[in-house]
Symmetry: C2
Subunit: 167 residues, 2 copies
DNA sequence: CGTGAAAGTAATATCCC
DNA sequence: GGGATATTACTTTCACG
């Protein structure tokens, strides 16, 4: 699962930024913006996908518009040592968990949970707490967002030390 | 900014799910899967965009492949009352903050931060701490992810009570 | 709401510099 | 590496049930 570093220049950065801004931008349009032909842009995009820099293209939706109006982060504490493999299994059992990771600090894991409403969230929490080795949870309900939802990772501007920028 | 409820049926759900799975799926292909013509699918997608259910199409990237190898959640505590408007301003000053929200619990806000490495993260943290009314921060570094990165919100399967499913 | 057809664009494959 | 071209495929518009 280790990815080798792959050549990635300024033009690639701009292509990635363009596709993050709009995954449906045509190769010709991207090319016109950065001074390449559509063919050259396509070749680079193909390479960016093959090398795993671009992992896919997705539609972004407003969860609230689909009925998911409640959002929370949940710290999970386990009995004894919690092997990440086992934790990952548990996490996959609950579709309301939209992100999960192990973190530093007291908690064994941090979950991002979406629910339709507070009642649903409570139900999810009880379901999670029922899992064998979960000892306790601490929840932080999201009240309001301070940033327009960013597609999580971008490449908008040039960045320090070989990293394309986020947002 | 209040969105009226908009008609949203099973076909719309499948269309949204298809576009989340791959934003470049053609209307004809989606139509073949759900029993509609490409034209009908396009009309529905146009409506889903106009009504704000679909907010855009974006490329997904592996941040690590772009040089962002460090990730953390940061709780922020402010002096006195922290008006979300002011907090939002502060957050926008730091491009490394990829998500920010007010939350229940002791902290005034929770930030998601990406940095190239630990040194960079420390620099970001110091920069955030320098902001006028930030009193203290508590950081949780992300160690490993337990779910394949989900596009944050999806509509994969039918869900309870009028909500399209996530993941 | 849905369809199908026609016109305009874009994606892709192939060949050349 | 990049570009030009030709073919295939998709998007978009429109007339119509």
């Amino acid at each position: 699962m280790v990815h080798r570093p792959v050549p990635f220049d300024e033009l690639d950065r701009k292509i990635v930024a363009a596709l993050i801004a709009n995954a449906r931008t045509s190769f010709a349009e991207i090319g016109a913006d950065i001074g390449l032909s559509a063919t050259a842009v396509k070749r680079r995009v193909d390479r960016l996908r093959e090398s795993g820099i671009i992992t896919g293209f997705t539609a972004t939706v407003r969860p609230a518009a689909l009925g998911w109006r409640t959002e929370a982060y949940v710290e999970v504490y386990c009995e004894g040592a919690a092997p990440p493999r086992r934790l990952a299994e548990v996490v996959r059992n609950h579709p309301e968990i939209t992100a999960a990771m192990t973190v530093t600090g007291g908690a064994d894991a941090l979950l991002h949970v979406r629910a339709t409403d507070v009642e649903h969230f409570e139900e999810v929490l009880e379901r999670i707490r029922t899992e064998p080795f979960i000892r306790k949870t601490i929840s932080y309900m999201v009240l309001s967002h301070l940033l327009p939802d960013s597609p999580e990772a971008g490449a908008a501007r040039p960045a320090a030390e070989g990293a394309a920028d986020l947002r």
